[in-house]
């Protein structure tokens, strides 16, 4: 530690830190544009010039290392003159169009010009103009003339997003921010550039010119999408969500959010919103009052219980539902005498049982300090964009990432070793890694591993894992949706134990961990798959679109069509209108209070940001009234907080320990098997209806992706129209060549209307020319 003095204040700071860091520590504000605590130092805006004793000229605080005994003056004559001078230069080419600028009111340049600039400019000549560029559906560059070349957006791409998509072309007064030949920015984190831009050069395309920043009230919330639980500020005007921006939380999302978190709010205002309770009578949907709709549901459930029996009542919820909703749903179903409740809709191997709720196995922030990773079955960038960012960060500072997966998608980080194999070979690959580890440790080889011969990749991964001090073995979404999920988990757990690594599950959705904690899954009843295989008479659907949210859409739809009563609780109109009997409009996350438990087990509650649209009501209220109508005791909650308290006190612990199961697969291996990803912008009902996100490359319609060898083997060409089939379930798709896939697989995304007619996400599949 060293001591420096800033404006007469004595500050103790770390050796190697900068004057800017020290000033931040002491609460002294030094104006700046290009400096950002999460980005590298550029020192190109010169706004942070300060006077340093014995230095002949002002120095940039962001790039000047603090030295013992240094005396810094931020408001001396020299410093103020320098800051004024820099501001005058910055404003030479900056248009003074604040009154019509989208950034007005929340603009760093505007604020600092107020504090440090002159009243008028001496520059009377023409200002330069920069032509706008087209860089995609999310970020507007129409007012690029406002750019002050701080290069924060460029550095964000290089250092955080992991892909440099924007750059500074030309030089001096011709310098401008461009993408390569006007290509669209594709990063799943790109929206953060809008926040980083200190002026109004990069603005949010969906939001711009719809509200001024001072008209907006800011309500805190939590992301309902991936398992991270990013902290959000929902900006509201006239009871309408206008935009979403991040709230800084170093332990969870730092100061970033993914584009899905940022732009999914457009779905809240979608014309597909369901706003009135509806009942189907004589094949006609009619709007009814809430009381009528709920009476109808209660009567229907009573009749089915009396007739077919309580075990014919089944409830399915997405893991994007709140803790309160999931808790009440399972309480309701169990009180009716059924145990058929589940939220693990895309899971297929229910032998995967952990001791408690499966979770990350460590705090999210500790990912940055891990030095070895084994990531099993994860489309990491698209499934968990900000966890990918943290791992990328760790890899940059020397960690080794090892991957076992069924597709070699670019993780935008250096991958030390990878084993890309078809899903049916993944358990075998993990067994090879385990065997290699056992051989390295000279431990006893269990009988079932005697014949396993580790390949080079398995040996390299074992070598990498055992050379680390803080390793982590993580199971991704695909590994959990895999038909041999329990084998994968058991093997991964043993690998972790043997290499002294942390063992964790990457949570698929905002409340996956919460769903386990409140046991919104069967104890003795039917799981999500059994409920479909043995069709039930009544289904309660909470946020579920069965053809998009379930492991086997074909099976799900046939079960729905056979049922006597389907109650669709949803914020949106969807295909339920074809098979449901009742549609109840429930509130999305901005219109209800609730709680999500994120990947690391942090319980995060939020309040409603706006009033529910139309007659929509928070699902916890709907379930409460339904409980009352069914005369179930203990349903007299007067707030979501009361439910949360009861739910949390009754909830299970986080515990990743899994039973060891035999690693050997039972079934035969198909010649061609399916790999299914859940595309980032189709993962849940809200994001599916977010317009701008639906126009990005990540939302491109799915195709049948195969590597060149498979395409040749099948006698096809890229671009051909094919009919893919799983049993009687079929879909027509275009062939796309993807050499990042292993042989023997066809990658077809799930969760999309084009593939909603297909069967399970994995397993045998046939491809024929259409």
């Amino acid at each position: 530690m060293i001591n420096i003095e800033i404006d007469g204040k004595l500050i103790e700071t770390e050796r190697g830190s900068t004057v800017m860091d020290a000033a931040h520590k002491a609460g002294v504000y030094i104006p700046h544009f290009c400096y950002h605590k999460k980005l590298s130092i550029a020192a190109n805006c010169r706004m942070c010039l300060v006077e340093v004793e014995k230095a002949p000229k002002p120095l940039p605080a962001c790039a000047t290392p603090a030295a013992d005994g240094m005396k810094v003056f931020t408001h001396s004559e020299m410093a103020v003159k320098a800051q004024k001078g820099v501001m005058e230069f910055l404003l030479i080419n900056h248009p003074l169009d604040c009154p019509i600028c989208d950034q007005g009111g929340e603009c760093q340049l505007q604020d600092l010009a107020m504090g440090y600039g002159g009243g008028a400019s001496r520059y009377a000549e023409e200002k330069r103009m920069v032509m706008p560029k087209e860089i995609g559906e999310l970020i507007s560059t129409v007012e690029m003339s406002r750019c002050i070349q701080c290069t924060r957006c460029v550095r964000f791409g290089q250092e955080i997003a992991g892909q440099m998509e924007l750059g500074m072309a030309n030089r001096s007064e011709h310098a401008e921010i461009v993408s390569f030949v006007n290509s669209a920015v594709e990063s799943e984190l790109s929206g953060n550039m809008i926040d980083l831009c200190p002026v109004g050069a990069l603005t949010s395309k969906p939001f711009r010119y719809t509200a001024r920043s001072w008209e907006l009230s800011r309500r805190r919330s939590v992301s309902p999408h991936d398992g991270l639980g990013a902290n959000l500020a929902v900006h509201v005007k006239d009871n309408k969500v206008m935009r979403v921006v991040p709230v800084e939380n170093e332990a969870i999302n730092e100061c970033w959010i993914s584009d899905k978190d940022r732009f999914s709010y457009e779905g809240l205002n979608s014309p597909e919103r369901l706003t009135r309770p509806m009942i189907k009578q004589n094949n006609q949907w009619i709007e009814v009052e809430w009381t009528a709709a709920l009476e109808y549901v209660a009567n229907g459930l009573r009749q089915i219980k009396a007739g077919a029996g309580a075990e014919h009542i089944a409830a399915l919820a997405t893991p994007h539902s709140t803790l309160e909703e999931l808790y009440l749903l399972q309480k309701l179903v169990r009180a009716m005498g059924s145990d058929n409740v589940d939220f693990r809709l895309r899971q297929s191997d229910f032998a995967l049982e952990t001791q408690g709720a499966p979770w990350l196995g460590m705090p999210i922030a500790e990912l940055n300090s891990c030095d070895r990773f084994l990531i099993v079955g994860s489309f990491l960038r698209k499934d968990q964009p900000l966890i990918a960012q943290r791992i990328r960060n760790a890899v940059k500072s020397g960690a080794q990432a090892n991957v076992v997966h069924a597709a070699d998608d670019d993780l935008l980080m250096k991958v030390a070793n990878k084993a890309i194999v078809p899903p049916s070979k993944m358990a075998d690959m993990l067994a090879q890694i385990l065997k290699a580890l056992i051989l390295r440790k000279e431990a006893a080889v269990p009988a079932e591993l005697l014949e396993v011969e580790p390949c080079d990749a398995a040996r390299a991964i074992a070598q990498s894992l055992s050379s680390g001090e803080r390793s982590a073995v993580l199971l991704g979404n695909l590994a959990q949706q895999h038909p041999e999920a329990s084998r994968l988990a058991s093997l991964a757990n043993q690998i972790a134990e043997l290499s002294g690594a942390r063992f964790g599950f990457l949570a698929e959705a905002a409340n996956s961990v919460g769903g386990h904690m409140v046991r919104a899954l069967p104890e003795s009843g039917m799981n999500a798959q059994e409920m479909l295989k043995q069709p039930r008479k009544a289904y309660l659907l909470l946020n579920v679109e069965p053809e998009l949210d379930m492991h086997n859409p074909d099976l799900a739809m046939s079960a729905m069509k056979q049922a006597d009563m389907v109650v669709a609780m949803s914020a949106f109109r969807h295909h339920a209108s074809e098979y449901a009997d009742v549609m109840l409009p429930i509130a999305p996350f901005t219109e209800t209070s609730g709680t999500f438990v994120n990947n690391e087990g942090t319980v995060q509650s939020f309040k409603g940001a706006v009033k529910p649209l139309g007659d929509a009501r928070p699902a916890w209220k709907v379930l409460r009234v339904l409980g009352n109508l069914l005369d179930i005791p203990g349903f007299d909650y007067d707030s979501s907080e009361a439910i949360r308290e009861e739910a949390v006190s009754a909830s299970g612990k986080l515990d990743n320990r899994v039973e060891s199961v035999s690693y050997k697969a039972g079934g035969t291996v198909a010649s061609l098997e399916r790999v299914a990803d859940v595309p980032i912008h189709f993962a849940d009902a809200l994001v599916r209806r977010a317009d701008a996100l639906q126009k990005t490359p990540d939302a491109a319609p799915p195709s049948a992706r195969m590597n060149g060898e498979v395409i040749r083997m099948l006698g096809l060409n890229a671009g051909d129209e094919v009919s893919v089939g799983q049993g009687s379930a079929r879909a027509r798709l275009k062939v796309q060549r993807d050499d990042r896939l292993p042989s023997g697989v066809v990658r077809i995304a799930a969760a999309h209307p084009l593939t909603a007619g297909l069967g399970p996400m994995f397993g045998e599949i046939s491809v024929e020319r259409a």
Binding site: Q158, M164, E165, L166, G167, A169, N170, V178, F180, V181
Partner: protein, 159 residues
């Protein structure tokens, strides 16, 4: 695709740098492309980017930063006249005017037959020979007079 000879030249260049710093060769790679093709298209930049394992936009930054890279076809012989202070004091404006009238093109233009291109350049560090120009960034011609320019053009015409 980069031609075999360009790839070979880049490979030789790469030996000068640590193996994990392939992008250090970007300036040389751009030069090799220009030497072979006369100019650098964005497709060439993409090819260089994938060959060196760096982002396309980073190649674009370098190519647009240095003015000696031609980002459009500039003729078989690109004549770059220095118009900085020393040369201007010694008559660079007249050099440009004379070249323009002889070639029938202005600065930044290419002759109709694609033989000559005219560019304006920055100080070449040879002010003692002002006014001067370079041919294809390789050959420096100084102490220019109308006669000398005629002589140089006559030789270029033949080639």
């Amino acid at each position: 695709m980069l031609s075999a000879s360009i790839q070979e030249q880049i490979d030789r260049e790469l030996k000068k740098y640590p193996a994990d710093h392939r992008q250090s060769a970007v300036m040389a790679a751009l030069r090799f492309v220009q030497d072979e093709k006369g100019w650098i298209s964005t497709d060439d930049m993409s090819d260089i980017a994938s060959y060196l394992g760096m982002p396309e936009i980073a190649v674009f930054e370098v190519a647009t930063f240095y003015h000696m890279y031609n980002l459009k076809p500039m003729g078989k012989h690109t004549i770059t006249v220095c118009t900085n202070l020393s040369c201007t004091l010694c008559g660079a404006e007249d050099t440009v005017a004379y070249l323009s009238s002889r070639l029938g093109i202005g600065i930044g233009e290419v002759s109709a037959d694609g033989k000559y291109g005219l560019r304006e350049g920055e100080c070449m560090g040879a002010c003692k020979d002002a006014p001067l120009f370079t041919i294809n960034n390789k050959k420096l011609c100084g102490r220019l007079t109308h006669e000398k320019i005629d002589q140089i053009l006559a030789e270029l015409d033949k080639s």
